[in-house]
Symmetry: C2
Subunit: 429 residues, 2 copies
């Protein structure tokens, strides 16, 4: 059983995403030792992962080395690993390394993973953009498909991508793909007929951006249609097959690549963590973000659910929750009275569709559309990245993409299989 | 058999490195169609790959999408593939896709690969920094080793990296590793004792930077020693084992990671290309860079050898050779007299050792050392990158590394295996 050597209270934080890192930051000037556990060596800025998938940003632009947070809070130690068990009577968190961490206070901020809602074939045939690896897989599949079609010459089949989900991620992904088709492919893939390259977005609800206002929804719809995205609203996905998506009425929408931008779920391993779980497996918390029945255990962000006050699964509730919980722990240690219940302050919603096209709903401001919204989107996202280097590098790459429009057609790609390698892979599978 | 549809002469270029792309550029305003063949989808700026291996730059900062060169020369088409055969009587180049390219003029600029000189165990146990993938493998092994030692706690074994080769790549890699050990590890890996983290450089010659002047050699030696690199000059590698490097006298230098920065060789597939090969398998050319006996076939860069005038295997001879050959082809098509023989203009040599420490030997200028040399090194390398985006992004990342010294400790890492995953990998192997 390990705890830091000092006699200071020990806060264990599981998950170094928005919620976990905002708690790390909020604890930096206080007299506590912190152990941060994450199964990845880096933090991921998920709102920009679709830009990695569509080859505009480097994975390194939207990830941040977890161990570098010690520059922010020197009382943090990091453990790379997965939590396999928690024992709240003994106050321990057990890692896959075999190490048991003793905690005085525990913050669970482990986030969520993709949810395929049990739709047949979805997990096997659709690629979610929810992790760095997922985004890189989409990028490789996308460019491998383009290369294959280009090699086949004039007789190539149509190139078809289907995006499932009409929330911010789905809209942004479909918009970026349409911009690539409309502006880059004629230069980089002259072998392909743009008329035979298709981007389709499938959404069960009758509108895009369900969480936004009506004006923003209409603007997003018009912007995607203007860019030639085939919109299938009010359309339910019944099955995902290797050759496409079967929708409610039995129609097959053919696709060489299906991108999953719909739904998130709690990891199944949470069942071993000794915490009460509610809808979707989320951890049940009270109005102080305490896990029900466990006074020194908190849960924040996507993984937490206060049934009396369900919050959207976005960055802001996680950021605010992490900070609130850190303050709550510090107040408790100081013998100060308990904080009032957690209140989420909705700062607004943003989504971008393409160059100079975005929607921005900021609290206390009128809704923005078009270039002003796009400028706000860019500023907010870049400012939210951890570290000046990531901010500057992302700004450079987004600027290159949007300012040198139609002049540079660079794309950040990895290794693509050649024709011979593709044949070998097909034989092996 | 495919050739572009027009009646314009068709130049096939095999390899999109420094030599091939400089030919593509030089041909951009002339009346020829160009097909560029490369087995990778991107061009790699090899001189900065060691910065990818040591987690300062993104792979996307030092690679450039091959298909984006059409923005430079719209008469280029690209083929992703490997050359499996050439038939110079029929004037064809056969790709692994089965496609045969008919050429009027052929430029072979396929570069070289790592050379292990037949040293036992080297190919299996040492990692070369010669490709994007190679650099990423080094990065993953390096950080996996640090994480493993950090997890093991106070009893961890010493962390030892051996760099084989004292040329520019070896010196720059060892310098970057030493700077990481001296400046970053105390923040990011507080679990490790810096005294027990070792960087060793092994070089057969009695000096570092054999191609440089004596003053630069002495400066590089002193700079690495000052940074705590264990230098083993005049030391021959006899064997590379999983646990380290055995040197000439039978001593084992223990190492968890052996980086190979010594020697390059021509790919074995060149034997099927119907061209005369000389020392090290390099393609024999005359003083006009024509492949001996094949008047319409040229070879440039590392892969070419003019026995009467052997050139260093660096970027500059390739860049100048590609441009010269393009001019030669254009002159021939115009019926102009043959160009005078190719003359390589040595513009100088550069190597960096650490922050504000470098050597620069520029023709017609006195040799530079220290900060002025480092500033020249940075400027030349950044300026040499293809594309404004890569230039700006690299400048940002190098600036963050050197200007915010000791404040930011970000590192660009990928996925690292957790302890459980490492155990699983060990069992599987």
């Amino acid at each position: 059983m390990t705890a830091p050597h000092g006699q200071r209270p020990h806060v264990v934080i599981v998950g170094g995403g928005f919620g976990g890192l905002s708690a790390v930051r909020a604890l930096r000037r206080h007299d506590v030792d912190v152990t941060l556990v994450d199964k990845r060596a880096y933090n991921t800025f998920q709102p920009l992962l679709y830009q990695v998938a569509t080859a505009t940003l480097n994975p390194g632009d939207v990830t941040y080395f977890q161990r570098a947070v010690r520059a922010v809070n020197p009382h943090v130690r990091f453990r790379l690993g997965e939590v396999v068990r928690m024992d709240h009577a003994a106050r321990t968190v057990s890692l896959d390394s075999g190490e048991d961490l003793a905690y005085d206070h525990l913050i669970i901020a482990a986030g969520v993973t993709a949810n395929f809602f049990g739709i047949p074939g979805a997990e096997d045939n659709a690629l979610p953009i929810y992790t760095r690896d997922g985004a890189l897989d989409v990028r490789t599949r996308l460019f491998t498909g383009l290369e294959a079609a280009a090699t086949e010459g004039d007789e190539h089949g149509d190139v078809r991508v289907v995006v499932v989900g009409g929330g911010a991620t789905g809209v942004e992904t479909a918009g970026a793909l349409a911009e690539m088709r409309n502006h880059d492919l004629q230069v980089t893939y002259p072998e392909l007929d743009p008329q035979r390259t298709h981007v389709t977005l499938v959404e069960m609800a009758p509108v895009l951006l369900g969480a936004f206002h009506e004006g923003s929804q209409a603007y997003a719809k018009a912007s995607l249609e203007k860019r030639g995205v085939d919109l299938r609203l009010g359309t339910k996905v019944a099955e995902v097959r290797p050759d496409g998506v079967v929708v409610g009425d039995g129609e097959l929408i053919p696709a060489g690549l299906v991108i999953w931008a719909s739904g998130i779920a709690v990891s199944s391993s949470v069942a071993d963590w000794g915490v009460p779980q509610g809808k979707g497996g989320r951890i049940l918390v009270d109005d102080h973000l305490r896990v029900q029945g466990l006074p020194d255990v908190y849960a924040v962000g996507d993984i937490a659910l206060d049934e009396g006050n369900a919050l959207p699964q976005l960055a802001q509730p996680a950021l605010q929750g992490g900070k609130y919980v850190a303050k709550q722990i510090v107040a408790g240690l100081a013998g100060a009275p308990e904080l009032p219940p957690f209140r989420y302050r909705d700062k607004g919603s943003l989504a971008t569709i393409g160059r100079s096209a975005a929607v921005a709903e900021i609290s206390h401001l009128p809704d923005l559309k078009g270039f002003p919204a796009w400028a706000v989107w860019t500023g907010v996202h870049v400012f939210s990245l951890l570290g000046n280097r990531n901010r500057a590098a992302t700004m450079v790459n987004l600027t290159a993409k949007y300012a040198f429009w139609n002049k540079s057609h660079n794309a950040i790609v990895g290794d693509l299989p050649t024709v011979r390698e593709r044949a070998r892979q097909r034989r092996a599978s």
